[in-house]
């Protein structure tokens, strides 16, 4: 195939150049630059925009306690729920936020176990996002129980009333699945923060800062023993977290799929929900990361390659979700069950047709734009496109939940759900809470995992000196283990 003419040789060389691996840290940044650049986000005075945004979203977040107070003092009836639609925005929002919380642990655990080095510069912020999303999620089912002060009955604690949980209910498994996921994600995130907290402590210029980061760093000294323990624990936690990532949304899908409601009961639900959660989670990671990458000039750490990879994951998971939609539709027809067939035609052409087609457009059609390189390489185009999955994944849950139950088997039990102002305000409140918590995180904790990024730089490669022969501009001393890379 190799032709002798010059144009063919040029194409040959172009293809070879195209196959060159992109470095994960651009511009040959030295290790000290990484520390300085990430730490100064936390160390410099809070910029004006940060105060404005924090007040704005913090203000929005106050809707959460306000609406919840109103709800508890008046009753769950302030939401638009009524027979036959007894699950609507509350459970939609719960599943929406839980789904967003999937990307973080996927990046930190599954991509760690599969040795995906590009995860290092995005895992910290994605994990933080996971935790904030799960906090937002937990609010809805906790208050949906009605008497929230009785919510502790969900825990299997022997009590005077001899009330014991129904362990056969997927709703109870949800309690365990979500709380376990939250706990493990939090520990995982905090564990990964410790070496970087120690860096902040060591760089602290005020006593208060030194004390605060010193306490959080748990006496980290970066000794060989510390690193050995750290890396073992991290690997074990990654192993524990991996099944958790899959289990949480599988259990959430069981809430629906174990029932016999047409439109809810289908066997593909567990992997379909997990794919959808990763899809929505990555969209949210990009939504948050792209603006902060611009503001803090993190282009050398969160490179175009990182964004490109995440776009591809969105394209893949969006297509998997599309596969699940089509399987549901095909099998509903193939089953020959009139109720199944009705549930799906009603979904697409019934009163909620707009929600269904919004879901298809946002989740299946829009991500297909990521087939085009141009769309993956321009961060602002990416940001515009990921707004579709962000919206579409909310619609997906709304479509599944509301359209399946708004027309019961008897036409006398048909209804149409409309949200009340309390439904809407509470959801807006959780968006405020989510962004507010993320802004606090950006301000007080290093948003990039510094020591892990250093571990994947060319300088950290034991064979770096081999490279020096080829790349004269490599100025760093070779280092051998992540422990020694810790600046």
């Amino acid at each position: 195939m190799r032709a002798d003419n010059p144009s063919s040789q040029a194409a040959f060389a172009k293809a070879a150049a195209y196959l060159e691996r992109q470095p994960l840290v651009s511009n040959h940044r030295p290790l000290s630059w990484i520390t300085q650049h990430v730490c100064q986000i936390v160390e410099e005075r809070a910029p004006k925009w940060w105060w404005i945004l924090t007040f704005l979203f913090g203000g929005m977040a106050t809707l959460v306690p306000a609406m919840l107070t109103y709800l508890v003092s008046t009753g769950v009836g302030v939401w638009g729920l009524n027979v036959p639609v007894c699950w609507a925005w509350d459970i939609t929002n719960f599943v929406f936020w839980i789904g967003i919380g999937h990307a973080g642990t996927l990046i930190s655990a599954i991509l760690f176990l599969t040795r995906q080095k590009w995860r290092t510069s995005i895992n910290r912020s994605a994990e933080a996002m996971t935790i904030f999303a799960v906090i937002c999620a937990g609010i809805f089912p906790a208050f949906h129980v009605g008497r929230v002060w009785m919510a502790w009955f969900l825990a299997p604690i022997p009590n005077a009333n001899a009330i014991w949980q129904n362990f056969r209910s997927p709703l109870l498994w949800d309690v365990f699945a979500v709380s376990t996921y939250f706990t493990v994600s939090l520990i995982f995130w905090y564990l990964g923060l410790i070496p970087d907290l120690a860096s902040l402590r060591d760089r602290a210029t005020t006593r208060l800062r030194q004390m605060a980061y010193g306490l959080l760093a748990l006496g980290w000294r970066g000794s060989n023993r510390h690193w050995t323990h750290y890396e073992k624990t991290y690997l074990i936690l990654a192993g524990i977290s991996t099944p958790l990532v899959l289990s949480v949304h599988s259990v959430v899908s069981f809430d629906f799929a174990t029932s016999i409601v047409p439109g809810w009961h289908t066997t593909i639900f567990p992997p379909y929900f997990v794919a959808g959660a990763i899809f929505g989670g990555f969209a949210m990671v990009l939504t948050l990361l792209i603006p902060f990458r611009e503001i803090y000039h993190l282009h050398d750490l969160v490179t175009d390659k990182h964004i490109d990879n995440m776009c591809k994951i969105i394209l893949l998971t969006g297509s998997l979700v599309g596969y699940a939609y089509s399987m549901e539709f095909f099998i509903a027809w193939y089953s020959g069950n009139p109720f199944e067939i009705y549930a799906f035609t009603n979904r697409a052409f019934g009163p909620y047709w707009w929600a269904y087609w919004a879901m298809i457009t946002c989740n299946v059609a829009a991500p297909q734009l990521f087939w085009f390189k141009y769309c993956r390489q321009n961060p602002w185009v990416v940001l515009a496109i990921v707004m579709f999955p962000n919206t579409g994944m909310w619609f997906e849950r709304f479509v599944i939940i509301v359209t399946s139950i708004h027309r019961d088997f008897l036409p006398s039990s048909w209804g149409y759900f409309s949200p009340t102002w309390v439904d809407i305000s509470l959801f807006i409140g959780t968006i405020g809470l989510f962004v507010f918590l993320f802004l606090l995180f950006v301000r007080f904790l290093p948003i990039i995992n510094m020591f892990e990024v250093k571990g994947i730089t060319p300088q950290a490669d034991p064979h770096a000196h081999d490279a020096e022969e080829n790349h004269a501009h490599s100025r760093q001393t070779p280092t051998h283990t992540p422990s020694q890379v810790h600046a």
Binding site: R115, F254, A257, T258, T267, I268, P270, P271, H471
Partner: protein
């Protein structure tokens, strides 16, 4: 990542003489197995032969489909670690033309024995009447042809272009294969899903599960990874890939085998669990048939053998890095894949037999037949011979692949 600029290894031929009796054994058992199965089966029990043969064909088909999946995935993800083993995957995935031939008896001899819907009177079965636009013979054969043609073209394309790259190391071939993979993966997914619906799910045409395609895929990916482990280690054991294949490759293949063992467990559990919990009659029959008589013990064995045993065997690092341990586990996984396919297909034989005897459809229990073994040995012998023949046609690894150097230097540490 930078590497010391050592020279790339030169192409390596398969030395058939080092493989002992295998090059003779495969065609021998292939011919003996198939001929004896057909002669004996057609004379004594054509229906048993039909199901035994479909079982054997499906085992071969799923392993080859899995190999095609790994080849496409390798290119789509621009992977590096798997370059060294890719020619083996390509050779297994190039067996589809043979599978196309092996499928002809299914169409011309067995289809009406196998698929009850082909012989059912529509007036007796309104559900089938509803499904007629999909479940009718012309459309069914058309689809079968499409799947097998697509798999054949895809498998051969990937092997041929990869072989051509051995000559000049043209990086444009890598790019071309990568871009083709993006288009082929969705087609692969649809073909595999609907092949699963047509050949297996419609054996009992009242039953349905949206998970079916994913379930079949899990088995394909897992069993083909096990086969890859066995073939690669077999080649290393016979003196091939010397100095190229390292313990790290075994470790990665072991991790993927572990991952897909868990994935199979997850998918099969979800499918079973959701139908058991909802307890809707038209769905639960599938499992009721497979929990009747000794099928019950067989089903339990499937759960333990297909998931728990390999899960435990693969959990630790030494289990993946010690050649004999990972090979033993991989062999077990292949066996369990056969057990799984048998469990899917064979209860339907008893349903057909009871229908033909004029009784209500029912299963009796696990009754293996010698024809099952003969057909399986025959199909696997033919496929094994094809793979060896394809492997002997060129280098056993892509010697001029631009990512070969990375594949040789792969490690499992961040």
């Amino acid at each position: 990542m930078s590497h010391s600029p050592s020279p790339l290894p030169s192409a390596e031929k398969l030395r058939l003489e080092s493989l002992g009796i295998l090059p003779v054994l495969f065609p021998l058992i292939g011919v003996i197995g198939l001929v004896s199965a057909f002669v004996w089966g057609l004379m004594t029990n054509p229906m048993q032969l039909a199901f035994s043969y479909l079982f054997a064909f499906t085992v071969g088909f799923t392993i080859c489909a899995g190999a095609l999946f790994w080849t496409l995935l390798h290119h789509a993800l621009d992977a590096d670690w798997s370059v060294l083993m890719r020619r083996i995957l390509e050779s297994i995935a190039s067996c589809f033309p043979v599978l196309l031939l092996l499928f002809l008896p299914v169409i011309f001899l067995f289809s009406r024995e196998l698929w009850h819907w082909m012989t059912t009177d529509l007036s007796e079965d309104p559900l089938l009447a509803w499904k007629r636009p999909f479940l009718n013979e012309p459309f069914f054969y058309l689809r079968c042809g499409f799947y097998l043609l697509f798999f054949s073209v895809a498998g051969m394309l990937y092997r041929n272009l990869s072989m051509r790259q051995d000559l000049d190391g043209d990086p444009r071939i890598t790019l071309r294969l990568r871009h083709t993979a993006y288009g082929f993966i969705p087609l692969f997914v649809l073909c595999l899903t609907f092949a699963g619906f047509d050949w297996l799910m419609s054996l009992d045409h009242h039953w349905y599960s949206t998970m079916w395609g994913v379930y079949l895929f899990a088995g394909c990916a897992q069993s083909s990874m096990a086969i890859l482990i066995l073939v690669t280690n077999g080649l290393v054991r016979t003196g091939h890939l010397k100095g190229l294949f390292t313990v790290e490759h075994n470790h990665i293949m072991g991790m993927l085998l572990f991952a897909f063992t868990t994935f199979w467990g997850y998918i099969s559990f979800s499918q079973y669990f959701l139908q058991w919990y909802a307890n809707i009659p038209e769905e639960t029959w599938f499992f009721v048939y497979r929990n009747t008589g000794s099928w019950y013990a067989y089903s339990i064995f499937l759960v333990v053998g297909h998931f728990f045993i390999p899960f435990i065997l693969l959990l630790t690092q030494p289990a993946k890095r010690t050649p004999w341990r990972i090979c033993a586990t991989a062999a077990w996984v292949v066996l369990m894949h056969c057990v799984d396919i048998y469990w899917i297909i064979m209860p339907n034989l008893q349903l057909q037999q009871s229908r033909h005897a004029g009784h209500a459809a029912a299963t009796t229990g696990f009754h293996p037949h010698l024809l099952d073994l003969l057909a399986l040995v025959g199909v696997l012998g033919v496929l094994g011979h094809t793979v060896l023949w394809l492997l002997s046609r060129g280098s056993i690894f892509p010697a001029r692949d631009p990512r070969l150097r990375e594949s040789l230097a792969v490690t499992n540490w961040l």
